[in-house]
Symmetry: C2
Subunit: 124 residues, 2 copies
DNA sequence: TTTTATCTACGAAATTTTTCGTAATTAAAT
DNA sequence: ATTTAATTACGAAAAATTTCGTAGATAAAA
């Protein structure tokens, strides 16, 4: 499937991935903490996402309940591939290094990454 | 400076970063290998980027020569920050791991990354 | 010199994404 | 029972991005 959600769509997906199936109201409340936008804007976005197959919904109750229909990791992989390509000229290593340089990561996370590195070298 | 080049703009920046100051013609020839678009489209894009301050240009010769005015690393940092935020919910570690999992990296690159990890833990 | 090709500037069309207003419906509150 | 509030559907406006056509200028070729 050709997945490339827009930025707005991604905000919604992030919420649904972490909070599970939710109503437009819930999503909107959350988005409202960050940005200014009317309720119908969020509604419309989610309806479009539903048409596109990004979300599924239950119409049991009057307030429809939406859930992400695309997987978190699949979607992120697609986004990452594109991003590595367009923003880092295809070099994942460059991206990784800049990411580690810019951002804070906990000791545990660093350990995890180190393990991953070891496995990658082993499988070579 | 508030840098968030669009995807098309990024393609052009990538070229200029790697090839140095170039004419619209050169950039266009390159882009044409990838996608369909008329010459004036590329021209217009670069003119807009010039207005925005993303590019500078010399008008010495009839064919203007454009160069990136924003730095590669600065721009990439900005893009990466935003990307970590929107696509990976703020977790750089998650991004790093997925990037390493998805993409091929050479042994040398893996070593570089390992060194970086060591330094990060030392400075903690 | 005349013609042909190339380039810039510019406006505007086309496309994509985001935003909102309105009407109709349903549920809840009074 | 009536009113008030919340919800969906829908169209369309607004904004941002991308694309292109045309006119005018300059250089190169014939």
């Amino acid at each position: 499937m050709n997945l490339k959600p827009t930025d707005s769509e991604l905000e919604i997906l992030n919420y649904l991935w972490s909070e599970g199936p939710s109503t437009v109201r819930q999503v909107h409340e959350y988005l409202a903490t960050t940005k200014e936008a009317g309720y119908t804007t969020t509604l419309k976005l989610m309806q479009i996402m539903h048409e596109k197959g990004l979300l599924e919904r239950s119409e049991e109750s009057r307030s429809h309940v939406y859930a992400a229909k695309v997987s978190e990791t699949e979607t992120r992989r697609g986004l990452l591939d594109r991003f590595v390509e367009t923003a880092f000229g295809g070099s994942a290593a460059r991206l990784v290094m800049q990411a580690l340089g810019n951002h804070q990561a906990s000791a545990e996370e660093l350990d995890e990454i180190r393990n991953l590195l070891n496995n990658l070298e082993k499988d070579r």
